[in-house]
């Protein structure tokens, strides 16, 4: 379980997060949504100890992110960030292989190689695994980064807009894969998503942030509701039903 307690965060004078308290259940997909500048990425990077906490506390299974050694946390949680400027010259296989570093510290065993191959297979990267990261498309690199986070084999995965750069085909197939993994019950995802229909279709729970505060926290049907979405995004949105799936028509 992830427990976030009284977390506030400021950059200079601008308040990014104000007194966020919530708990995220184990296993399943939790989608983090909200308009631009709502503080989603900041919350995620605070959870992943990429920035020091200013106030409040964040605990993963009772281990505080600010007090647990970073090498231990690397076996509990993995994060995929939005901006990944990589200057090293390496193949996609090498990049994915870095996900195993917390386990082997530079000396990969047969088990680590196997985990990398599985991740490459699982995310359809096997046929391009020898290509260098500066020679593949943004979407292919993005999938490799997801595969890298996956083969870190942590209980919690925090993904900041994993669908960035992905076309419809790969966006859906990635979400389906994540759903499959979540359904095994071994791993939990917290995913920042911009498309609320993906959130509605694949998440167990949705957390909506607005202006640095917690707006809604509940199952998809609570969030995919005309009034709730209109208040959250300050725009006109119609929610309809297609078969048994709620769909927000936000593009019309």
């Amino acid at each position: 379980m992830i427990e976030i307690n009284g977390v506030s965060h400021n950059y200079g004078k601008s308040k990014i997060l104000q007194n966020i308290s919530l708990s995220i259940k184990e296993s399943g997909i939790t989608a983090l949504i909200g308009p631009n500048g709502a503080g989603k990425s900041t919350l995620l990077s605070l959870m992943a100890r990429l920035q020091p906490l200013q106030t409040g506390s964040i605990m993963f299974d009772g281990h505080s992110v600010s007090q647990t050694p970073t090498r231990e946390l690397a076996k509990t949680l993995a994060i995929l960030r939005q901006d990944n400027a990589l200057s090293s010259r390496m193949s996609l296989r090498d990049l994915v292989g870095f996900g195993r570093y917390p386990h082997h510290k530079g000396r990969p065993t047969a088990k680590d190689h196997r985990a990398v191959e599985e991740a490459l297979d699982y995310f359809d990267l096997q046929d391009m695994s020898g290509r260098f990261i500066d020679e593949v498309s943004g979407g292919q690199k993005q999938r490799a980064l997801v595969a890298m986070a996956f083969c870190q084999e942590t209980k919690y995965l925090l993904l900041d807009e994993p669908l960035n750069n992905l076309d419809m085909y790969y966006a859906r197939s990635l979400m389906k894969r994540l759903r499959e993994i979540a359904d095994t019950g071994k791993r939990s995802f917290v995913i920042v998503l911009h498309d609320i229909n993906y959130a509605g279709a694949y998440a167990n729970e949705i957390i909506a942030l607005k202006d640095g505060t917690l707006a809604i926290h509940g199952p998809p049907q609570d969030v995919l509701e005309t009034n709730a979405l209109q208040t959250l995004y300050s725009m006109k949105i119609t929610v309809t039903q297609h078969q048994d799936q709620l769909v927000a028509l936000h593009h019309l």
Partner: protein
């Protein structure tokens, strides 16, 4: 494939060393061995120091066109030296034991480098333009402060300072060689143990933290190592601006890998090969008509421009 390339480089280096020791040898071997041997040792030491310092600096700063000298590290060392002469006075400075003086200079250098650069490197890492700007400003600042101090200094002190700071490849400061070898070996030992961690650090701050590396602590350690290595090489042969860049670019080009376990030895070997063979050509064939540092700087500078224009290297 990498191992094969490293072996070829080692063989070439061995040949260059033999050529350096034997070409045009006249007179007593006992003299020649000591005379040329010391020089060879110094060249090798400087190669290791500069190449490793540059590679490490590029790893923690996350780009491939900045080097410690472009960021003003060796200018800082010269400033420290000038400040010591200025405050102590030339006679006290000369009377001091060479090795103690050297250690004191390194100490001050470390303090200054950590204070100045740790703040810049932490925040500005992904911002290449800001790093270049800071480097240029620091470099100019250190050089002008040095120049200013040298103008108001006592003329006798100035002469002493010139002797100390205008070192060359052909006249290496031999007193410092032993201490230099000790320091550089210690640094290399630490770096070799960190070789896998350095691969992770090269992925950037957030990736490194995500993979469980204590990024802040390690980049501090690396900064200290870089400052030490630059001090040793500057003390021995004076500042060399573009040599490190030339060497690491070649190492990346030849090895085409991200692994420090390969890049580190490769850049050491390439640096040593260039310096030893270059010095052999200059001393034996061109009869010291020009200086090696000028030529190395010329090609290094051209490469720097090429990298900038191609805009490929980050």
């Amino acid at each position: 494939m990498h191992a094969k390339k490293l072996i070829i480089l080692s063989v070439l280096l061995a040949l260059a060393c033999i050529a350096f020791m034997t070409l045009g040898a006249k007179g007593s071997w006992s003299f020649l061995l000591v005379f040329r041997g010391t020089k060879l040792l110094a060249l090798l030491l400087v190669s290791v120091a500069i190449s490793v310092a540059t590679l490490l600096f590029q790893t923690i700063s996350g780009n491939r066109i900045l080097t410690p000298s472009i960021m003003g590290f060796d200018a800082l060392y010269l400033l420290v030296q000038t400040l010591l002469v200025f405050t102590l006075g030339g006679f006290t400075y000369v009377a001091l034991d060479g090795q103690i003086k050297f250690l004191a200079e390194i100490g001050v250098m470390l303090l200054a480098a950590v204070l100045l650069f740790s703040t810049v490197m932490g925040k500005g890492r992904q911002d290449l333009h800001r790093m270049v700007l800071v480097g240029i400003i620091f470099g100019v600042l250190f050089r002008s402060l040095t120049g200013f101090l040298q103008r108001i200094i006592d003329p006798n002190d100035f002469a002493i300072l010139q002797g100390a700071s205008f070192a060359q490849f052909s006249s290496v400061d031999k007193d410092l060689l032993g201490l230099g070898i000790l320091l550089v070996s210690a640094c290399c030992l630490i770096i070799w143990r960190l070789r896998y961690t350095l691969d992770v650090i090269a992925l950037g701050r957030s990736n490194a933290i995500n993979l469980g590396v204590s990024y802040e602590r390690l980049s501090f350690v690396v900064l200290v190592l870089v400052a030490t290595l630059v001090s040793v090489s500057t003390a021995l042969v004076g500042p060399v601006a573009f040599f490190g860049l030339l060497v690491t670019s070649l190492a990346h080009f030849i090895m085409n890998t991200h692994r420090h376990a390969i890049l580190l030895p490769a850049s050491m070997l390439i640096a040593a090969l260039i310096l030893v063979s270059g010095q052999t050509v200059f001393e034996r064939i061109l009869k010291s008509q020009s200086t090696l540092s000028v030529t190395v700087e010329f090609f290094g500078g051209l490469l720097f421009l090429l990298l900038l224009f191609r805009g490929k290297m980050r």
